[in-house]
Structures are given as structure tokens and as C-alpha cells.
Symmetry: C2
Subunit: 187 residues, 2 copies
DNA sequence: GTCTATAGGGCGATAGAC
DNA sequence: GTCTATCGCCCTATAGAC
């Protein structure tokens, strides 16, 4: 056995989620999270840039998967179709619906967590737009397709975790896009 | 003349924008902003909830104007058209292109300012969606139309302040929506 | 207006893995 | 020897409490 218990990072993530859910984000101090995880406060900040980031540790993997999926799309795929197919693949990486609901409730209860979540989605959209540009899509079209895809993803996610939802995430995404298409169609 | 110089709030906004542009957001302390404006640090936090908020003081007016414009649209206007018309009216309230460029550069240089800006746009989208629901638009459609409208607004704004831009803001918004419509049209 | 808890960064020391 | 994770102590600014 080493000098320390392994996976300090995983313990910190778990402890943070528990405490944020139990007492709220603002009422939880970094020292409390660290204590529950069996490390010092300073170690917490070495793993996570700030108190919020501990809830977003998986977002990089999601982004990599989505960008990789766009790169793997056939050359003749239309931009919006490539984006939506890639986001459906990314959607399959999310944790269970029950966990997603719990996490969403924690985020919804605190505006600084909402800010961080919005930044993550914005960063995802930027990465998607860049992947589209690599495929030769013009910048303006790439930005619009990326932002629109992320909007559909977000609204599909909200539908998926809603109390009365029955379908899976991919279905929710497709339904949202169908409605968006109807909404923007010319007169 | 009163006991204090008038418009402490306006002086704080100006001082903050100058210092953020000169030295960067993180390198500027609330005490420095207050000093330049001729008030105490405590007064700064009485006017603005945090260091970021001083750059977003006009966002409430924009939101009120947009929501009011939606309420004033004819009953038979299609949701997306009502949203875009309202956002064009909101766009007319923005400061000059030169000032907008400078402010955008300050925000782009700091991720916590980007987070706050994204939250303001998200709040705007929520208010737009609520205004649509008051008109009888179903929730899912209202959310999609609101998010899509704000996306078009954001991308139109980016186009408007770009170095090579020539058109006015309203034109940029209409161009962005035209491209979005083409992008999402069925095969 | 004063006081204070907390966030979060800097830096060197330490103990293991390789 | 190098590399990496952790500790511990110091510091300042934020932002809320009183």
C-alpha cells in the first residue's frame, strides 16, 4: 500500500456531490470536502481549479467524444446532421438518468454553477464549430450549426430528465430537432 | 451641490471598464475601481453584487425592452418571427459599435466574465420563453424559439463587431437567421 | 464603516514510484 | 537520480455579516 489511499480525485468528486446535495453549494466549504475525502484543502485545489469545477470533471471526455464523432462522419454529411449524430454519441456517455437528475438539481439551485455549466456548453459549441471548419464548412455556418446543435442537446437533456419523460436521450434530441425545424421553416 | 458628487454608479461603471481594459479583470481590485470613482470599496459592493456585475448593468433594460416588444407583437405572429423582431428592437439599445468592441474584448479575455455573459443570455432566453408562453405557445416550442433567437442574436452580434463588418446590427441578425433556416431545412 | 470567513494562489518540503 | 502527488504554511482579495 502506498503512502496515500489511491484515487483522491474520485473521492473528492464523490464527497463534493454528496455535500452539495445535502447542504447546498454555498454552505459547503472546500475544507469540508477535503476532510470527507481524507485529504487537505490544498489538495482539493490542486485537482480542481475551483469549487465548481469538481462537478464538471467529465465534460472534457464528452467534448472529445463529440469532436471525434464529427471527424468520423462521412465527408458528404450535412453539417447539422453531423453535429446531431455526434451529440447523440456524446449523450450515450452521460451517467444514469437518476444521477443526472440529482446533479441537475444541485446545479439549478446555484447560479454560479449554472454559469459554469453554460461555459462548458459554450466551450463544447466552440469545439464543434472548429471540427466543422476542419471539414470545410464556412465559419458562420459552422458557428450556427454548432450552437444550434448544442441548443437541441440542452433542451433534449431537459426533456429527458423531466419527471414525465419516457423516451431515451437520443429520442429526446431527435424530437427537439424536429420541432426546431418546423419552427424555423419559411412561410 | 450635494454632499457627494452625483452618479457614483456611473463613475464606478466607467472606472471599472477603464481599469479592466488597461490592466485586465483579475489584476484590478474593487478597491482600485472605488478609488478612481472617488468612493469607498464598500460603496462599490452596494451598487454591484460582485466585480463582474459592473460590466452588465444595462442587461436588465435590454431584457425588459425585448419582453415588452414580444408582448406588443400581433397575436398571429409566428413565435420565431416575434422573437427576432423583438431582438432587433433590443439590439437598437446597445451602445456604439466601438464601445461594444472594447467591452467584448474585455469579456473575451476572462472566462469568469464569459460565464456571467452567458448567464445573462440564458436569463434573457428564459424571459423570452416565458413571454411566448403567455401568448399561448407550448413550452417546448417556446424554449426552442427563445434559445434559437438568442443564438441568432449572439452570432449576429459577433458578426456586427467583427473587423470586416459593414452592415448594421439588424442586418447581421437577419443574415444569421437566413443561414440558420437554410441549415435546418429538411433534405 | 468595521470585521471576518473563505476562495484560491505561491512556494518549498516530503515521501513514494520509476 | 527524476517525476509526481501530497502536505503545510503564508498570503491577498472577495464578499458577506454585523
Amino acid at each position: 500500500m502506498g503512502r496515500w489511499e489511491p484515487d483522491a480525485r474520485g473521492r473528492l468528486r464523490l464527497s463534493a456531490m454528496e455535500l452539495y446535495a445535502e447542504h447546498g453549494f454555498e454552505q459547503t466549504t472546500a475544507a469540508e470536502i477535503a476532510e470527507r475525502a481524507g485529504v487537505t484543502e490544498r489538495t482539493f485545489f490542486r485537482h480542481f481549479a475551483d469549487k465548481r469545477e469538481v462537478l464538471f470533471a467529465g465534460s472534457g471526455d464528452l467534448q472529445d467524444a463529440v469532436v471525434g464523432a464529427i471527424d468520423a462522419e462521412p465527408d458528404d454529411a450535412k453539417p447539422i446532421d453531423a453535429v446531431l449524430a455526434a451529440l447523440e454519441i456524446g449523450a450515450s456517455l452521460l451517467p444514469s438518468r437518476e444521477y443526472s437528475r440529482q446533479r441537475a438539481a444541485v446545479v439549478a439551485a446555484n447560479s454560479s454553477l449554472q454559469e459554469r455549466e453554460l461555459l462548458k456548453f459554450s466551450t463544447l459549441a466552440d469545439a464543434v464549430a472548429e471540427a466543422l471548419r476542419r471539414r470545410g464548412v464556412p465559419t458562420l455556418t459552422a458557428n450556427l450549426a454548432a450552437e444550434t446543435g448544442v441548443t437541441v442537446f440542452k433542451i433534449g437533456f431537459a426533456t429527458w430528465i423531466a419527471d414525465d419523460s419516457t423516451g431515451d436521450f437520443a429520442q429526446c434530441i431527435r424530437e427537439a430537432f424536429g420541432r426546431l425545424r418546423a419552427l424555423t421553416a419559411g412561410a
